[in-house]
């Protein structure tokens, strides 16, 4: 006999939520403190971190937290985020997805191709931030030429990461209401799952039946 269907479908485990928010909060801190030091007009943001000198000290240490969290994230999600043939079809329908014509978009599993790409780009950016950030942390150990290149790459990664974060926050809050609760409480509404990840919902129901 079929059991009653759940109105709330579990989506993220507590450890996953903790890792996600560690990445999210540390990256936001890094973005604010980093932009404060990259843009003289945003230098006032250093007040959030206790002034310019304190910001200079804190930024790399927040980076350490971020790097560890990114590594944990890579470890926890890598398998779920592997791209397959279905994802290619999904990517072809990005214009439809972006304009809410969901009927044209192929059914997504637990993660759609856009989320998967966002995940992998985040990992790559994490590596770039680490590799280019270490010389900026200890500038005297590296030559001036190398430091200039590192500073540019670190900045370019910041622009990419900042824009992606903007998109991520927009899509997961006001653009697609019901998304954020999964990352806060762990479960998502049945209707939301049906709308955004129908293939995943079918799978969940099968497993439960």
């Amino acid at each position: 006999m079929r059991r009653e269907r759940r109105e709330i479908v579990p989506r993220f485990s507590a450890p996953q939520r903790v890792v996600h928010w560690t990445v999210g909060i540390s990256f936001s801190g890094l973005l604010l403190s980093g932009l404060a030091l990259a843009y003289p007009s945003l230098y006032w943001l250093t007040l959030l971190f206790g002034g310019g000198a304190a910001t200079r000290i804190l930024h790399p240490w927040i980076g350490v937290v971020y790097t560890v969290a990114i590594a944990a994230m890579a470890f926890m999600w890598a398998r779920d985020m592997t791209l397959d043939r279905r994802d290619r079809r999904w990517l072809e329908e990005v214009p439809a997805y972006a304009t809410h014509r969901t009927e044209k978009v192929p059914d997504a599993g637990k993660y759609n191709a856009g989320q998967k790409l966002y995940f992998w780009i985040s990992i790559v950016l994490g590596v770039i931030f680490l590799v280019t950030g270490l010389p900026l942390w200890f500038p005297e150990s590296f030559g001036p030429g190398l430091l200039g290149v590192m500073r540019l790459l670190h900045f370019l990664a910041t622009v990419a990461g900042g824009l992606l974060l903007m998109m991520h926050v927009y899509l997961s809050t006001i653009a697609f209401p019901g998304t954020a609760r999964g990352m806060v409480y762990g479960g998502v509404g049945r209707k939301w799952a049906l709308l955004h990840h129908p293939a995943w919902l079918r799978e969940q129901d099968r497993e439960r039946d």
Binding site: Y39, A53, T102, D107, P139, G145, G148, A175, L194, P198
Partner: protein, 292 residues
């Protein structure tokens, strides 16, 4: 020094306030006249009250091996072979006070590096955040970072003396007038006459060191072997913005535009398409036949 004389500050967002016509000064170091007495080192220590730093014999007449946060001036006793002869190419190692300072270009802290109309480039430790970008931005390897205070220090050309109409302490103390002080144009003329005299004496490659890549400097050298500045520990062609860092001046505004465009695009998307709420499933998203 008064705000009216502030010509340029690091990480400034608006033009600096200098409107006063002041003379720009220069220190001229005639290496050929230096007898290596290190009186200038002591005078620098005394005037700036920087204290004694113990040193050890490392097989040179040089007092210390390197500049430090408390040693802003070091006479480097470079031992170099010239035409089969050993020569002491003594160099006064201290801030050159560039007209286009690499330290100022590299500094992200507003007002931590200040350039005055009289040519002095000074570090304002109150504003310094200890990132050490100036250390790598300097083509002459002059600024030194203090691990305890987490600030960077260097020669300020005795700005307090210069303001009061005096010459820097090293100039005052030099017994052979190897170091002279005056307005930049006067020092340039003096340097040219010194070079001409040296050439007459057989130093055919004698030259003034006042590199163009940094817009000229407010400490110039007369080098007897001007064709080989590296042997004096001076870079041949220093520039203010080394390598990739020069790209920063246009990448920064480009990045700001991208952030702005991203925000506008997001807003336009929201206003055009609005939210896609879970209730959309009641309107046939996705098609009923695909529903579980």
């Amino acid at each position: 020094m008064a705000t009216l004389d502030v010509k340029r500050i690091s990480a400034g967002t608006t033009p600096a306030p200098a409107i006063r016509e002041v003379r720009d000064y220069a220190k001229l170091v005639d290496v050929s006249r230096c007898i290596g007495c290190k009186g200038c080192e002591v005078a620098c220590k005394e005037w700036n009250d920087l204290g004694v730093e113990p040193t050890a014999n490392f097989g040179s007449y040089q007092s210390h091996q390197d500049l430090s946060p408390r040693t802003w001036l070091l006479m480097r006793f470079n031992e170099v072979e010239v035409d089969g002869d050993l020569r002491w190419l003594i160099t006064k190692s201290a801030c050159l006070h560039c007209e286009e300072p690499g330290c100022l270009e590299a500094c992200p802290a507003p007002g931590a590096v200040v350039q005055y109309s009289n040519g002095i480039v000074d570090f304002n430790q109150d504003e310094c955040i200890g990132c050490q970008f100036c250390v790598t931005g300097c083509p002459f390897d002059i600024p030194r970072f203090d691990d305890v205070t987490r600030k960077v220090y260097k020669c300020n050309l005795c700005i307090d003396r210069v303001e009061a109409g005096l010459e820097p302490a090293c100039v005052k103390t030099c017994p052979t007038q190897a170091i002279t002080w005056g307005t930049k144009d006067v020092m340039e003329r003096l340097a040219d006459s010194k070079v001409a005299a040296l050439r007459e004496r057989g130093f055919e490659h004698a030259a003034v060191y006042d590199p163009e890549g940094v817009g000229g400097t407010h400490m110039m050298y007369v080098l007897p072997h001007g064709d080989r500045p590296q042997d004096y520990g001076l870079p041949e062609a220093p520039v203010a913005q080394a390598g990739a860092l020069s790209g920063f001046s246009w990448l920064r505004p480009a990045g700001a535009w991208l952030f702005g465009l991203g925000a506008v695009a997001t807003l336009l998307h929201y206003l055009t398409y609005g939210p896609l709420t879970p209730d959309a499933v009641d309107e046939g998203h996705p098609p009923p036949e695909e529903r579980p």
